[in-house]
Symmetry: C2
Subunit: 150 residues, 2 copies
């Protein structure tokens, strides 16, 4: 495609040096589950700046030294794309403060892996944690589609 309708969003896995990650328990009208914080890019906003802003808004933390891990790439039923830029960092400062989007708290990564059943977080964790993967892809226009990692 030359150009098309795309939603651009971000998500960030903040981790410490003790095996914990910062998770958000999202509470939306149509969903509820454990997911990493993030959100939509603003018009004209650089991707890295959008990650830093969303993390500040949803967790209270100021992050730096972001590493790109990959992309969640979702073909929606109308054929448009939904893209999530996946970042991680262990550089952060400030105090945790939850927002109206959901409570944020530390959880051992091993424990999260057992509970990751929301928004394909199980597949996203493979991309966040393993260098050989850089994409979570699924195509909702295909009724037999499965979520794959590449």
């Amino acid at each position: 495609m030359r150009s098309g309708i795309v939603a651009l969003t971000n998500m960030c896995m903040i981790y410490d040096d003790k095996g914990n990650v910062l998770i958000e328990e999202k509470v939306g009208r149509n969903y509820k589950g454990l997911i990493f914080p993030g959100g939509h890019l603003e018009r004209g906003e650089p991707i890295v700046d959008s990650v830093i802003r969303e993390i500040k808004e949803e967790t209270g933390l100021t992050i730096s030294d972001l590493q790109i891990c990959g992309v969640k790439d979702w073909i929606q039923k109308d054929g448009s794309r939904y893209i999530v830029f996946l970042y991680k960092t262990n550089s952060f400062s400030g105090e945790i403060k939850s927002s109206s989007e959901g409570e944020v708290f530390w959880i051992p990564l091993d424990e999260l892996k057992k509970k990751a059943d929301f928004w394909h977080l199980d597949k996203m964790l493979e991309v966040f944690c393993k260098d050989e993967f850089s994409e979570v892809f699924f195509d909702a226009t295909d009724e037999d589609y499965d979520v794959i990692i590449k």
Copy 2:
């Protein structure tokens, strides 16, 4: 922005274990210069698949074990975005075969750095080569804009 018009493209730096990278001398109607091979995503195509396909078409090589390095993120004059997913790999097989888009050939990376004056390749090389950077950003709606890396 919730959703907007976005062009999605890719670019890949293929490198060997002797300090060389595979470059393409693009020959378009309005441009001519040294750049890494790549191109547009097809409708519904996963990003990783699009990189493998474009590299096959433009260089003759079959690549694997792709690593994501970052994104070139360009706000165009009409406010739409132009995104280039930047990948690299040193896993390739086959024989080099140039396409009508331009001749491809190996060049020492150090030599390329001195010649990189086309399409912000100098800034992209920072993202390809340094883990601390993941974005080349510029905003063409701002007359005083400069290309920055983040």
